[in-house]
Symmetry: C2
Amino acid sequence: MYNFSAGPAQLPGEVLSRAKEELLDWHGCGISVMEMPFSSDEYREIADAAYGSLSELIGLPDNYHILFLQGGAYAHFAIVAMNLMGGQAVADYVQTGHWSTRAINEAKRYGRVNVVASAESSGFNNIPVYDDWTLDPKADYCHITTNETANGVQFHRFPDTGAVPLVADATSDFLTRQMDISQFGLLYVSAQKNIGPTGLTVVIIRDDLLDKAMDITPSVFNYGLQAKNNSRINTPPTYSVYIAGLVFSWLLGRGGLTVMEKINAGKAERLYEVIDADDLFHCTVEPADRSMVNICFELKNASLAEDFLREANSRGIINLKGHGVRGGIRASLYNAMPAEGVDALIEFMQDYSAGHSGKAITGAESDS
Amino acid sequence: MYNFSAGPAQLPGEVLSRAKEELLDWHGCGISVMEMPFSSDEYREIADAAYGSLSELIGLPDNYHILFLQGGAYAHFAIVAMNLMGGQAVADYVQTGHWSTRAINEAKRYGRVNVVASAESSGFNNIPVYDDWTLDPKADYCHITTNETANGVQFHRFPDTGAVPLVADATSDFLTRQMDISQFGLLYVSAQKNIGPTGLTVVIIRDDLLDKAMDITPSVFNYGLQAKNNSRINTPPTYSVYIAGLVFSWLLGRGGLTVMEKINAGKAERLYEVIDADDLFHCTVEPADRSMVNICFELKNASLAEDFLREANSRGIINLKGHGVRGGIRASLYNAMPAEGVDALIEFMQDYSAGHSGKAITGAESDS
C-alpha cells in the first residue's frame, strides 16, 4: 500500500513498528507513553531527546528555541500574528496559494496586512518574482509559505528581508530539504506531513522575537512564555512528541537532511518527467517553482480523473485526489514515501496511459 | 503497575491492547489511523462513531454540538471567553482552586470578569456556598470548574444560573459520573484524564451560543465555525479522537455513566475512610466537597512524604505526588483505575502506617 496523502501522511514503517512494540510499556517503565505525566522523568527524557534530535537535524543556531505546541498551522496563522504584531501591528504577506491566503485572512484580525506579492492572477501556478515585492521596512515581519500543499508551488530560494524578520509556514516541506534556519525569524510547522501524527505544531523562533506578543495572546500560545517553560506551561501533545522523536531519529539514521533532499528531489524529478512526457497528463505549475513534495497535475481529459483514482486505488496506490480547491491529482512525496512508491505510481501511470492512448482530449476541467 | 497520575493518566488496558493490535493497519484498510487523511471515509467513520458513542454516554440533547478540537483546557480558558464574550464582554467566575484561577486570569484579557465567589481564604478546601454568590443577570456566562484537579474539591450539585448560561471546565470529572448536560450552556474537557491521549479537547455547546464569538477569535477556535464543519475546518487530532472512541465504547460496554459513577464513588469512599481513620494521614478538604476523582491528602508528618512516595513506587504504585501548588499526596481515581488499584494503595498505606506508628507528629508542611 502506497499512501500519497497530503497529510496526515504516510509514516516510516520502522517508526510505526517501534511505536507498536512500545505501546503498552515504554522502555520497561510499565506504562504507555500516552499515560505518562508530562512532568515525569520519562516524558522529559522523550521530549528532550526529540528536541535534541531535531536541533541536530536542522542545525539549530544557539539563539533560537524550538517549541512543541498544539493547534496546527491553521491555528498558528492567528497565533503567529498575535505573538509578533505587538509592535507596529503591521505585517507583509506573500500570497502564493490556498494556505497563504488563509494565513492572510487570519492575520488581518490583529493588525494591518500588506499583501506585498500575489500569484493569484496566474491561478497560483508560480512564486511571484522577488524583485517585484514592495516590502514595508517597518513591518513586524514578512510572511511566506515555503510550500503550498494544495497548489504544488514551492520557494526554492528565500528572500532576504533585511531587518524585517522572515516568518514562514513550513508545514509541508520542513525536513524534506536543507534549510538555513538563520534566514528566518520564525518557522512554524504542523506535524502531520513529515514529523508525526497531527496534534503537534513545531515552532522555531529567534530569541529576540519572544517578547512581542499582543495582550490578547492566550498564555499557552504565548511563544515567549512557552520558551521560558520548555513548552510545558500546559500539557503538551505527548504522544505526538514521542512519535516525532522517533521520526527525527529515523531521519538522522538515514543521513540527515542533505541525504533526504537528494532522495526527495530524485523522486519528484522522475515523476515530473513522466507527467511532462506523457500526453495524457499535464502540470500547470511553472517548472522553476514546482514543489518537490506535492506534485499536482491533471489528466488532460478531466473526465478520466475519477477512473484514474479508482484504478490507482485498486493497485494499492491511494489518496491521490487533489485538494478540493484545485481538483485534479496530487501525489505527496514526503520523507516517508519510499522510491519504490514512486516507481509503483509511475508504472501505474504509464500503464494507464497506454490503455488510454488517443483519449488525451482536453476536456472541461470539471473536477472540483 | 497502578498509575495514579492526575493526567495524562492511566488508560483502560483493553483500549491500549486494541490500539496496539490496530496500530499498523486499521480494520484491514492497510494503513495506520495516524496516516489517514482526515477527509477520508475511514477517519469520518472513526470520528462519527466517537461522536455517536459520546452522545449516547452523556445523553446529548438535540440542541447541542460536540466539537473535537485541539489546545487543551488551558487554551480554552481563553478560547471560551473569546467565543462567548462577543456580547456584553462580562462574565461571572467562581474561584475554587488552581485551575479556576487560571481560567479567570485568561478570561480577563477579553472582558470584565466578576469573581462572584471564592474559596481562596479557606485555602481552596471547599466549594463556596451557592446562596452567597452574587450573579450578574447580564453576564455572558457564569463559569465553574466542576472538579479542581490540584485541590481535590468537586461540585456535587450545580448552581441554577437562570438565563445566564452555565459554562464549566469539566476536564477532570467528565464521564466519571452522570451529568445532566442541559444544565450547561457549554462544557469543555481536556482528554488526558478520562477520554484519551492529550491533544484532544472536547467542547459540548448549546446551539444558541454558537454565534457569540469576538472578532479576534481564530477560525479554528471559533466554536460556531467548527460546529458547522463537523470539527474539520482544520486537521483534527485524529489519533486522539480514535483512542477516545475506543474509550467511549469501553465505557458503554461497562454499562455507561450510572455504573461508572457508582464504581468511582465506591473507590473514593474507601480511600477517604482509610485517610480519615488513620492517624498518619490527613485530608484538609471539607467532607461535603471532596473530589471523587482526585483524592488529595497529606502525611501529618510532612517530612515522611518523600519516603512514602518512594516506598509506593517500589510497590508499583506510581505518580502519587501532589500538584506543585499544593504538595502532599494525590491519588487520581479516574475511570481506568480499577478497584484493585485502590485495594493495592490502601494495603500499602496501612502497611506504611503500621511501620510508622507513633510518627504521626504534625510537622511543618514544608513540601512544595
